[in-house]
Symmetry: C2
Subunit: 207 residues, 2 copies
């Protein structure tokens, strides 16, 4: 491991008034939405209610979030994940790169946004629509891994092997996060991720 900078996981503060207002609106929509979700559930909460609570029009809601699912599933971590993966030595086994990168990022994330992450993952475990939505191309972690894998190999098109690898890693990682949320956030997530990758690396020897 090389010594690290504080990991640019968080985008920098906006400058103009316009940008600041947009950010506030976005946060307001998210906050009100989560509040309503916790009070009456995801399915029983309409976009109209969320918009009203956040004091914007439904039109505006959909300008900020393409779908109601995106409210929960979209994040801004993609660039950080890609960066962390690319920082790993290119000759390291990809599984190792992923394990180290993911553990580092998640640790970072837990310090700053633990509650939000927990709420979100909790929702994903409980709402079937969200669980499926995880695999929509817009927020699919598989394409992230695939992107890095392809770039690392220095080729244009990913091979079949790369796709399978990315799919398996994405599925396993998602399972770790879901397990963490399902367990009330009490388990050590780094340990979960570690165990998960150990299984992948060992070819599921014990099972």
């Amino acid at each position: 491991m090389t010594p690290q900078q504080p990991a640019a996981a968080l985008p920098d503060a906006p400058t103009s008034l316009r940008e600041r207002k947009k950010l506030k609106t976005r946060q307001s929509i998210r906050r009100e939405a989560y509040r309503l979700f916790s009070e009456q559930g995801y399915e029983n909460t309409t976009v109209e209610q969320i918009s009203a609570a956040a004091e914007v029009s439904p039109s505006t809601f959909f300008r900020y979030f393409a779908t109601k699912e995106d409210l929960v599933l979209s994040d801004e971590y993609d660039p950080a994940v890609i960066a962390a993966l690319l920082e790993r030595p290119a000759d390291e086994p990809f599984l190792t790169s992923c394990r180290e990168a993911m553990i580092g990022l998640i640790r970072e994330l837990l310090q700053h946004e633990r509650d939000e992450l927990y709420t979100r993952m909790r929702l994903v475990t409980e709402v079937p629509a969200l669980r499926a939505g995880l695999h929509r191309s817009s927020n699919n972690p598989q394409v992230l891994f695939l992107t890095v894998l392809t770039r690392r190999a220095g080729v244009e098109e990913p091979t079949y092997e790369m796709r399978v690898t990315s799919a398996a890693i994405a599925a396993a990682t998602a399972e770790a996060l879901l397990q963490w949320a399902a367990g009330g956030g009490r388990e050590d997530i780094a340990d979960l991720v570690d165990r998960t990758f150990a299984m992948l690396e060992s070819g599921f020897a014990g099972v």
Copy 2:
């Protein structure tokens, strides 16, 4: 491998007139739907159009298929998959059981319903909504594998290790089928599945 009966992959013929009619309606809806999909695409085809073409009311459509996605994603293979998996020796590594069971089933399937399988997988590769829908609990292969794993271990609740294993296997198997469809159905699917499981078993050694 034990010698096999002709694999009860297909449910037996219905008896009463009522049952025969229901089956015909179901097939008619599916057939007209696929025809319309191929003519104008999945997204551009409405349930109303499908219902009209199949000469049933939209109400009836939703009595036969819970959602428009289900038209493509639902199948009747689950019992066959479970049976094939349970036939394997319980002390065999689970990956081996899955590989053998899946290859056997897919071979069987290709002989009888190759065209339909191809059309469906093709649609899944091309329509993002369907790709995500693959992970809805109703048609999620992961829960299939998980069911068998749990039963084989003779426990009530699946362990975390079982969940990760099922998730990885399901993701990898899906990738094999999708790759087969994406390649125009020309590749040998048994070979694809074989390569896929080899990757899982080797711990993705090459990557």
